[in-house]
């Protein structure tokens, strides 16, 4: 399986993401600079955290117009697996690949610590290795992670099972304790907590590793189906 990690000027979790794939899965993983226009070789594209373009104007607002984003839109439409973490999540909402927006934390602090998440939907390509309702420990590190949708959009997310993770103790004022969401099709997932920083016990938690295993399994199942046809 081929993984691509997008790199924008100001990305700073790209190496963690790269190593998480390499160490947890041992699959092929490459960095993809923001000027790239072709993502066709990748089965899964990871949009890492950081401060792309210095977070100028709004988090993710400028990254949205990078050359690689057109290719990412195409990959999303083709049903490829896409995961955005932290600033990556902000980039995906700004690109309208995911619903909602991320606002400044309600306590105005940069929150950087372990959080307990509840797995709300374990049927996405990134969450099948979890049990529904499972509590997992994943760190957060953000100042603008307060997820916002209006009441109508929230009802829609609930109805379509697009809420993937919720915080047990809401750290930032996110609507309905939401920590991660997916698109309608389920192939694009975004979250503020960092699963790539929780792949080994020595990091404080290994609960994030299952996200990477999940997507490899999803790809294998899809691939085997194709082979057996």
């Amino acid at each position: 399986m081929n993984f691509g990690v997008l790199v924008f000027p100001g990305s700073n979790c790209d190496i963690d993401m790269f190593k998480a794939v390499r160490d947890v899965l041992g699959e092929n993983v490459e960095y993809v600079w923001h000027t790239e226009t072709d993502l066709s070789k990748f089965d899964c594209i990871l949009v890492p955290g950081g401060f792309s373009y210095g977070d100028y104007l709004r988090c993710g607002a400028i990254a949205r117009f990078a050359n690689v984003m057109e290719a990412l839109q195409k990959a999303a439409a083709e049903g490829k697996y896409i995961l955005g973490v932290c600033n990556g999540f902000q980039v995906l909402t700004e690109s309208h690949l995911l619903p909602g927006a991320l606002l400044r934390n309600n306590n105005l602090k940069f929150n950087c610590y372990q959080t307990v998440l509840t797995v709300e939907n374990n049927e996405t390509p990134f969450t099948t290795e979890y049990a529904k309702g499972q509590e997992i420990t994943i760190p957060i590190a953000h100042g603008e992670g307060s997820f916002y949708v209006n009441d109508e959009q929230l009802a829609e997310l609930e109805a379509n099972k697009q809420i993937i993770f919720r915080y047990k103790n809401n750290p930032n004022g996110s609507v309905s304790d939401i920590a991660g969401v997916s698109n309608k099709a389920g192939n694009v997932v975004g979250m503020m907590p960092h699963p790539e920083r929780a792949v080994k016990d020595i990091l404080g938690s290994a609960d994030g590793a299952a996200m990477f295993k999940s997507v490899l399994n999803a790809w294998r199942e899809q691939h085997e189906q194709k082979v057996s046809r």
Binding site: L57, R58, A61, F65, T93, E94, G100, A101, L103, R104, N105, N106, N107, L108, Y148, V149, N150, G173
Partner: protein
């Protein structure tokens, strides 16, 4: 030349914790009449055109596409004539 002055504000329905904090600070300084503070962005765009109607359309597009995130923000703008010097 035209100048577009763009104001981007957080929607009324969305909490503004920064504004709340500034309000608290003002009240602490005895400016008790301040009942609300909302913080937004102010942008000045110089446009190489004198066509006001066209500029109106273009600036609206800029706001919708980039300058504001219409999920959580409102925007308004004014166009003024700039004397070329």
């Amino acid at each position: 030349m035209l100048k577009a002055t763009v104001y981007v504000t957080i929607k009324e329905s969305v909490l503004d914790p920064q504004g709340k904090t500034v309000q608290g600070a003002l009240q602490k300084m005895q400016f008790n009449e301040v009942s609300s503070v909302r913080i937004g962005k102010y942008l000045e765009l110089e446009l190489d055109t004198n066509d006001r109607a066209a500029a109106e359309v273009r600036v609206k597009e800029m706001c919708e596409k980039l300058l504001a995130n219409t999920v959580v923000e409102d925007y308004r703008f004014e166009l003024t004539v700039v004397e070329e010097g």
